[in-house]
């Protein structure tokens, strides 16, 4: 290991070190401040005699005289093992839950490598999230990357935890019910938001099957460059070496992209759209593409990144480039949220590209594709009519049009709307779809196959048939669950003290029985952010 005391320039998060002859590109660096504090960094640019290093931490306190820089000769690696489950790490990968140090089985390069396209297994196993707008209309499959496009103040966190809680491999395709391991990567979210996630994971016992990497809003922003990579490295290890089904939640990707912009600006690079660097697409792709399955391996990595669209603008570079990389998107709508609809998923711009692989007779039900397409078309028609009604009034509409208008309202109220603890299985969602479609004239149902209409839809058109729903176990929580989850915003969590420790018993029933190493530590999860 070579050490230099020749820092020439400090500029934002970047320091320039003179006299370094052969630093390796992307090499891990230790920066030692005059007061002895150690920080990590990475070589951004290297030439004979000079290296530019980005520091994952504040540059406050560094100087050009006594600061020492050590070049480790290694790339940035994450120690991994089974013991990671139930643990909480900082955004730089240091345990912050007061648990014992991790005994690494392996140390993996956090940048990963591209999965060989030939080795990829086609994602086709249906994941049941229990949310109708996702399961029936925008089906998620194992190995997919499906982001939540949200806006500030919308309940994306609630939806993300609900998905994490309810996601299971049900249906005929997967081999029975299997729960997901959650890897959670937080970039620049507030303490209140982090505490919301932690509390919910803890309550349902999911924490024991979760690995958390937390970079909060007051943590160094450049550290966000590595947080998602750490999370995905852990996820890949658990999925491909340990055969687990992994669900990765990354929030908030907007903060990540902003850090990338900050770094690019500090390097005085030519800015692209809205000041983001031209390689934002490539950089985001290196994160999002780390999802999928591999032939011959049981585990899969499914990604659920969350991003808030600045000013709800879907053409902003971050959602725009994300949409080009991910396999669809779930878009939350402020309009629906204002109407009090939860989850406020706007079905029309939402899409799951891999849906057709995960549905059908062998996986969900034979009528799934048709019902979904019909619901879409009818809802789109009803939505269009709304703007017409605003101009000409409802009376001017024909009988047929009024039916579509009523359908759109019923669709939002009954199909989209569901409780925070309501876990609808796919059968229920599809039956609900047929029930609503019964109000549409038969001649207009062009998207469903006639035989499916006969088999599934006719009973609703003929009389007062009521589908008997299976009661999902999670609905119990709605009654016993704590009230604040039902209310909107999560600001109040932030004011609660020890919120992650409270009420340990509440939700343990469901998953606490499962044995897993690391669960001893799970209980002690109060975060104390002490950095060296």
């Amino acid at each position: 290991m070579k050490e230099f005391q020749t820092v020439k320039e400090i500029f934002g998060p970047i320091i320039y070190v003179e006299g370094v002859q052969d630093a390796a590109y992307n090499e891990l660096v230790q920066v030692i401040a005059p007061n002895g504090e150690k920080r990590q960094g990475q070589v951004l640019e290297t030439s004979a005699g000079m290296a530019a290093v980005q520091v994952f931490g504040p540059t406050t306190g560094l100087d050009t005289k006594e600061t020492r820089v050590r070049f480790t000769g290694e790339s940035l690696r994450l120690p991994v093992s089974d013991e990671m489950l139930g643990r909480v790490f900082s955004g730089a990968g240091v345990p912050i839950d007061k648990g014992p140090a991790l005994i690494a089985e392996e140390k993996l390069d956090i940048n990963g490598s591209a999965i060989n396209p030939v080795a990829r297994a086609e994602p086709r196993d249906f994941i049941q999230t229990g949310i109708s707008t996702i399961d029936a209309l925008n089906t998620l499959v194992r190995g997919q990357k499906l982001p939540l496009f949200s806006g500030s103040g919308l309940p994306h966190n609630e939806l993300a935890v609900q998905i994490a809680r309810q996601a299971s491999v049900a249906g005929k395709g997967g081999g029975g019910k299997e729960d997901f391991v959650v890897v959670f990567g937080a970039m620049g979210i507030t303490h209140a938001e982090a505490s919301f996630f932690m509390q919910d994971f803890e309550k349902t016992g999911a924490l024991e099957r979760a690995v958390l990497f937390l970079n909060l809003a007051n943590d160094p922003s450049i550290e966000r460059m590595i947080t998602p990579r750490l999370a995905l490295t852990a996820a890949e290890y658990l999925a491909f070496e340990r055969d687990m089904q992994v669900l990765v939640i990354l929030t908030d990707m907007t903060n990540y992209a902003d850090s990338l912009r900050e770094l690019a600006a500090a390097r005085q690079e030519v800015p692209g759209r809205r000041g983001y660097p031209g390689y934002l697409y490539t950089d985001l792709a290196n994160i999002y593409e780390r999802a999928g399955g591999i032939h011959g391996k049981k585990g899969t990595v499914t990604q659920l990144p969350i991003l808030t669209m600045p000013d709800d603008d879907i053409t902003h570079p971050i959602p725009d480039l994300t949409g080009y990389i991910t396999e669809g998107q779930i878009v939350l709508s402020r309009e629906l949220h204002r109407k009090g609809i939860y989850p406020p998923v706007d079905a029309l711009p939402s899409l799951s590209r891999l849906m057709n692989l995960g549905i059908g007779a062998e996986r969900t039900r034979e009528d799934h594709g048709g019902v979904s397409s019909q619901l879409y078309a009818s809802y789109a028609e009803g939505r269009d009519l709304r703007s017409l009604v605003a101009v000409v009034g409802e009376e001017a509409l024909s009988e047929r049009d009024r039916k579509f208008l009523a359908f759109a309202n019923a669709f939002e109220q009954k199909f989209v709307t569901q409780g925070r603890y309501e876990n609808r299985d796919i059968e229920d969602s599809l039956e609900l779809g047929w029930e609503l479609l019964a109000s549409i004239p038969e001649g207009e149902l062009k998207r469903v196959k006639p035989e499916h209409l006969e088999k599934y839809g006719m009973k609703y058109r003929q009389g007062n048939y009521v589908h008997k729903r299976k009661t999902a176990d999670e609905t119990l929580h709605a009654k016993h669950g704590r009230k604040e989850h039902e209310s909107s915003g999560h600001a109040q969590h932030g004011t609660e003290k020890h919120s992650w420790e409270s009420d340990k018993t509440a939700g343990r029933k469901t998953q606490a029985g499962q044995k897993h190493p690391g669960k001893k530590i799970a209980a002690r999860t109060k975060i104390t952010r002490k950095r060296k």
């Binding site: 052969d22 630093a23 390796a24 992307n26 030439s47 591209a114 999965i115 396999e327 891999l354 101009v391």
Partner: protein, 578 residues
């Protein structure tokens, strides 16, 4: 060979000194790991090199070796059904070498060196041969792989014989030079042709909106721009599956890994209707996904089109699907930015337009090179997807593309949101091949085909105007004649233009079927129009049972369509006669 030393590393572009004597675009091996790179700028003894693999871990002082040759692809038996990365490294062989994840510095030849191919000569010893002449054939699946005399040879054929050879084994000598089954060609140089031909038969895609409304000629170039989620990739894979081309080169340039997997897993299962063999056997896949190195993404488009030109030179019709050219342009922008070049519009290099034009100009229908082979012609058709940021077509890549492509299939997110697929907007799209293809359509489909097409387009245009009025005053305020237009265009949209790629029957429509479907819909409109003139109320007209029958035509198998349509037309005539 020139040997230099790395002096600066920052991302995918590195610099080396001591490189005097190397050529621009020369392939070099960078560092201890021997990563592949290409020289993109030279200044004195300094060279800028774009590296086709991740540069992490490279250090100043490591050596850089020249190879003396530009980036080239290997052309010969073994290409078909192959899956390669952007610089034609075989991904299956890489997997064997380095496992499920792509490691760096893996050195595998593009084409299998060990496989032996049965070569059957078609020229005799002592005959004269020159560049482009077919020397013999190798059967690759059910495709006749024609072995052509490579560039720069001319003279008497000696020692040619049939037998099993590896691709590097000499099969004969021409003018004293050894010729093998395999040849090499630099990717950035278009392969020469004897002469370009005019465009004639259309590329029949089986998609009604494409074939009927906006046809693409064989040898032509088309652009599919659209925002994310509007169906660029689905349309491209459908074209690869169903279009009547003899070979497909599918370039996944900076796109999703799972999509490549979908192609990889579905194509071997799908059967080419003409040959009855798996589609994969007529396909070459270039897969450079978005997380694979950016420089190789830049090269992937050239690799793809060079392979396509090679098959064209044998006399085949080849289609190139480039998905997406925007990612390619962005790769250029990234490299240009790292080179600190003066940026043009939106940070793209000033030569963006030139590069796009050069690429699309490599499409064409040609008389192939070779002596006395005027009877051999082939074509390369290029379909490029464009991914404009925010769906805004005013951006440089879309605009530069539209200047050089003659077919524009405009994808529309408003259509895809209501699940109207293919989400091609019929008002914004255009095809400039209509004039050249008219004769062909009138001769091979029906003399009245263009007229029907014109009528349908006029109705759709009228609908757009009426919609503006409806938005203001509601549909009831329109006179019956105009409401009938809205009903008729609704039938055109829903019963003709909409096509389900996932429905076994509907996914592909023959031109005959398209013609009869359109004819029937328009016949309904004209009959209803005359009935209106006789003061039959519109509501009564719309009750016609034939409408239901028209709606299910798309799910009717091809051979029954004509009969059914004739029956419906007959019924309509009867109905409205009352």
């Amino acid at each position: 060979m020139v040997q230099g030393v790395l002096s600066r590393i920052s991302g995918p572009v590195v610099q080396a000194t001591g490189m005097r004597g190397s050529q621009i675009n020369e392939l070099v091996k960078v560092g201890e790991m021997q990563l592949l790179g290409e020289i993109i700028a030279l200044k004195g003894e300094r060279a800028s090199i774009q590296v086709y693999e991740d540069t992490s871990g490279l250090r100043p002082g490591e050596k850089v070796e020249g190879t003396g040759a530009p980036l080239s692809v290997e052309l010969g038996p073994g290409l078909l059904s192959g899956v390669f990365d952007g610089i034609q490294r075989p991904l299956a062989a890489i997997r064997e070498e380095s496992g499920d994840f792509i490691a760096r510095g893996v050195q595998v030849p593009s084409l299998d060196r060990k496989a032996k191919w049965q070569f059957n000569p078609s020229v005799k010893n002592g005959s004269h041969a020159e560049t482009g002449d077919v020397l013999g054939t190798v059967q690759e699946f059910n495709i006749e792989h024609r072995i052509m005399a490579p560039a720069g040879v001319k003279g008497k054929v000696e020692g040619i014989q049939s037998g099993k050879f590896t691709i590097t084994h000499a099969i004969c000598k021409i003018g004293g030079k050894e010729v093998t089954l395999m040849q090499k060609w630099p990717v950035r140089l278009p392969r020469p042709v004897r002469e370009k031909k005019h465009f004639e038969p259309p590329l029949v895609t089986g998609k009604r909106i494409m074939d009927t409304f906006f046809p693409l000629a064989k040898g032509g170039a088309a652009a599919i721009p659209g925002p994310f989620g509007s169906g660029k990739t689905v349309n491209q894979t459908d074209l690869a599956k169903y279009s009547d081309t003899e070979m497909v080169v599918y370039v996944g340039c900076g796109e999703r890994g799972n999509e490549m997997t979908e192609v990889l897993e579905t194509f071997p299962r799908l059967v080419d209707p003409k040959t009855g063999k798996p589609l994969m056997q007529r396909t070459v896949l270039i897969a450079n996904t978005s997380n694979m190195p950016v420089a190789a993404r830049e090269a992937s488009i050239y690799t793809g089109i060079t392979i396509a030109e090679y098959f064209r030179d044998m006399g085949y019709d080849v289609a190139v699907m480039a998905d997406s050219t925007s990612r390619w342009a962005e790769a250029m922008r990234e490299i240009s930015g790292r080179m600190e070049e003066m940026p043009g519009e939106e940070g793209y290099p000033a030569y963006l337009g030139k590069k796009l034009a050069e690429f699309y100009e490599r499409a064409g229908r040609v008389w192939c090179l070779g002596s006395g082979s005027h009877n051999r012609s082939g074509s390369v058709t290029v379909v490029g997807a464009v991914s404009p940021p925010g769906g805004d077509l005013s951006e440089p890549v879309s605009q530069s593309t539209l200047r050089v492509t003659k077919v524009f299939w405009a994808l529309d997110s408003a259509l895809s949101r209501r699940r109207h697929y293919p989400a091609i907007n019929w008002l914004k799209s255009y095809s400039l091949y209509l004039g050249e293809l008219r004769e062909w359509y009138e001769k091979n489909v029906s003399p009245e085909f263009y007229e029907l097409r014109g009528q349908a387009m006029a109705l759709l245009q009228k609908e757009a105007e009426l919609q503006n009025i409806v938005q203001l005053i509601g549909p009831d305020a329109l006179p019956d004649k105009e409401r009938l237009v809205l009903e008729a265009t609704k039938m055109i949209r829903e019963d003709f233009l909409q096509q389900n790629s996932y429905d076994e029957v509907d996914a592909y429509s023959t031109l005959r079927k398209q013609y009869w479907m359109l004819k029937t819909v328009l016949h309904f409109h004209s009959k209803a129009n005359s009935a209106l003139a006789l003061e039959v109320p519109l509501a009564k007209i719309l009750e016609s049972p034939s409408r239901q029958k028209i709606a299910v035509l798309k799910r009717t198998v091809d051979k029954d369509v004509e009969g059914k349509c004739r029956a419906i037309i007959h019924e309509l005539d009867g109905e409205f006669a009352k």
